[in-house]
Chain length 305, copies 4
């Protein structure tokens, strides 16, 4: 249960079985840095490149294919006073006939005020000069080497995690991923200072960050899709296109989880889910969309957090 | 600005230009009763029939095609001590290969405890004997006569409203619908004592209710899709299949609203939406799914509630 | 088995239980005229209006809810020397980021040469002066009153038929529809002189026509979705959004048909469909898309045409 | 322009930048063998494994990122007298509520009669004893190393080709793929003796084969999505979920092709496509579906084959 510091000097644009950059043990924590989605660090250098350059992979000693890897996001420190977004919404989140509503997809700068806890466009459009958004840092992209020896672009996601762009992946969230390679091979990057649901502009407020995470090997649970929890809720994540299919994956993983780990019958699990579940649309921008299915811990019979 | 009492004795299973059952004025309120989705009232009689029999239509004097009709849900009183749900999840909300997880879609009874503010299955599955869900009454289906002289089944929804099954349609919500017929012709019914997001069991806790609503004619705003507000948020609703398209409608209506009524440029509206919007999946069960796009009033420059 | 002539003088923009304009018997044929999609006749008058004004409804004596109505398209005569299309593709049939490829959706005139059997734009774009397309007349929209007392816009379609815009609905095709109202109440209109698959421009070559059709009541077969045949094939039609769901409906109807009418087991029907089925995308433009599932009669054991 | 023989002894389950097994020149032909989708050869040995083990990659000297690689399928010889399919349709190609129509997804043997040109189940279900299907061999999976250093499972497909399962990929078809790696790195395998459209059983008649193909480097054309031609038609392939998106890709690639290579304006290309295009649903089973957009060469002004 050690705390490591790791300063990356190379970055990957695919998540796959790349040579590990650092080895850690079960229960260890790591403090490391991540570049922004275009490869820039907090000093304005560009040691990585688009899309979503990853820090890692971290080799977790003892993690074997068939295990689960539990990631806890302990802290996300925004270490840059600037970030960026695209200024317009993505063309596919509005009606196909409503394209005239969309400004050019130009990259614009944002100022990040860590002290005040707010961010705002550097050059605010007329009428929004005093507008700002509260900081809510999250990790856009993280995951473990996928199944079948694949190396998959950090633009997309799957059962192994990846570019899920879920604003719930902030400090305090814990995520369980299925291990497919020796040592799990954990990658992370693409922090957003804040982001609306769906990532409908195609970006959050993209920025460099320092992250502390810890890892735990779970020999008993290799989920079909990412599972997670916050202090209030348990949740599952489905990554696929279209939204309907992402929702099916998340819902299937949740009912499976309730039945296998909480000992509920199919009927009991269905009744509880049917009347209490909530969903979040994490991203509706990436090649695979992400839908999150959540249940309050209080709504689960016998839940002990 | 009168308050009317109207006790229905006939019910419609389509929303269309049916003869009005009651005439009201701009600003008036109505207290009325609704049957459950299968046509039962609080006394166990069945004066209506499936699907979702509607109380109405109410003729709003002065409402003309091209106007908007603003509906305020003032109160929803649960007037029955029982309700029902289907016991299993809908087959299309889980993976196509995961059907074995689903119990038979059997109708089961629920007890509604208005004093305690909770509901629970009459015959709870083993392990859930002490489980219950908090009451959160909502109107599943309401709307005005649709465009083009159509009469559309209360199983589905569209720009005119209909069977949106959104759990946000509780007391305190206000909704703006586009008027297509003389007098608007407002229908309502299908109250749920509670419901999870997505209505993934195909039902909320279906029950009879007493509702108080009020109407206001808006000569200046005929929305493309339903718009609404709660004390905290403004929201838009897109009704279509698949979810992707429902989300496009809701997102398009929101950016249009921000630009036309809040005076924001396309860039300003995009920036605010991109980093602050949230979505709710209202229903992923009906022929048309419903997705809600919400923005906190606090996030809108110059919003005065 | 009489042949009637019926000259319409009123037209409907919804398919529903409207008062019949003409009564016919089981086995009868009708020769009638249809307007183009915007309501123009062959003389340039506009007695109807957009969208897709329907001739009818025809009351078929003896047709009862629960029956099937078999429509045979005997002849489609193009009675106008002109037609029209939109000049550009619909915005949703190309990538959302490829809108720049699409010209303005302007209405343009086409010349129909019945003698030569070809059609061409009246003002052909540069480089296409000698281009033309072969005439292949089809009925874009036809159907019977839908279930549940609905009246549904002729812009869309469902189990009852409607605006399916399938280029296979030419002379020689036979279609079976489920009867939901006394007398079936058959409507038709919206002839295209030719049309590509998918109706991706949002129109075929829209024109007025004279049609001869005949009707047969089928007391034994009320299909879930339209079924049909040509001399070579049997086919089923699924009408829904998105394409995936339209395909599911068509495929389900086909396996059901093979099992119930051809006496095949689920395994036999699956094996035959899996290795011989073809699909056509009828339209990917209307509110409900249409997908057709076809099997060669030769591929069906024991088929006797 | 040499003809090589290459007998593979190792196989890949991802398409990526693996070390080449054989080097060939621009214009060369190769005769090689492929395993069936589960890794069996014509002798009943299993040197590969599921899914879709690939022969290759072939290094094409002179092919550079940014080029196109033109593959011609010259011959597909079925070298085994047996094949296999799954016996039931895939669960997601029928209505979610119609699962009862589907038999267990069991693997069954087929007999391939090369002399008679037909195939049939080894143990035909009752009533289909004399049924058989005509042989129409096709290559289910082929492609070049994808962009961005990815290695992608042979279960799926993308702009680089992959598991498209299109029954049009038989002898005589030519396909153009975009080159992303030095030498292009061409893979192929997964031959089907026959297959229905959509691959709705999840398989064609899977079998081992001998294939002759030739390669041509095209320095002028790197398509966005696979382009191809047969003697009659030109076509484009879109690979994505859902079908709507696959269709968008194929349609966008076709209009782009008509405008850039045939010198048509957007209006001319739209008019021709709108009234003459056809679509095939190649597969609706794999993680990415495949839709093919075709135009008869005769329908293209100035086409010289």
């Amino acid at each position: 249960m050690r705390v490591h510091r790791f300063m990356p000097n190379m970055f990957h644009n695919t998540i796959g079985a790349h040579p590990p950059v650092f080895e850690i043990g079960d229960g260890d924590s790591v403090v490391t840095e991540t570049l922004d989605a275009h490869g820039y660090d907090a000093r304005g250098q560009q040691p990585g490149r688009s899309p979503n350059p990853m820090t890692g992979p971290f080799f977790v000693s003892g993690a074997k294919p068939g295990d689960g890897l539990r990631i806890r996001i302990n802290k996300i420190n925004l270490i840059s006073s600037s970030g960026w977004t695209f200024q317009g919404l993505a063309s596919h989140v509005v009606d196909p006939t409503a394209k005239m509503l969309l400004p050019q997809r130009e990259k614009i700068a944002w100022l990040i005020d860590n002290t005040g806890g707010r961010a705002r466009p550097k050059l605010p459009p007329a009428g929004t000069e005093s507008w700002s958004v509260g900081l809510a840092p999250m990790i856009g992209c993280f995951g473990v080497a996928p199944a079948g020896g694949q190396a998959i672009s950090t633009a997309t996601s799957g059962p192994y995690g990846g570019n899920m762009d879920y604003r719930g992946f902030g400090a305090g969230a814990e995520v369980l991923l299925p291990v497919s390679a020796e040592g799990a091979l954990f990658f992370l990057g693409d922090v957003h200072a804040a982001q609306g649901a769906g990532e409908i502009a195609g970006t959050g407020i993209e920025t460099a960050a320092e992250i502390e995470f810890s890892v735990h090997i779970d020999k008993a649970h290799a989920p079909g899709w990412p599972r997670g929890q916050t202090p209030e809720s348990i949740f599952t994540v489905g990554n696929a296109r279209p939204l309907d299919q992402a929702l099916q994956h998340a819902t299937t993983e949740m009912i499976t989880w309730l039945m296998t780990d909480y000992g509920l019958s199919a009927i009991a699990a269905s009744q509880i889910m049917g009347q209490t579940v909530t969903y979040e649309i994490a991203n509706v921008f990436n090649p695979a969309y992400s839908v999150v299915c959540l249940i309050d811990k209080k709504s689960i019979p016998g839940h002990t957090s």
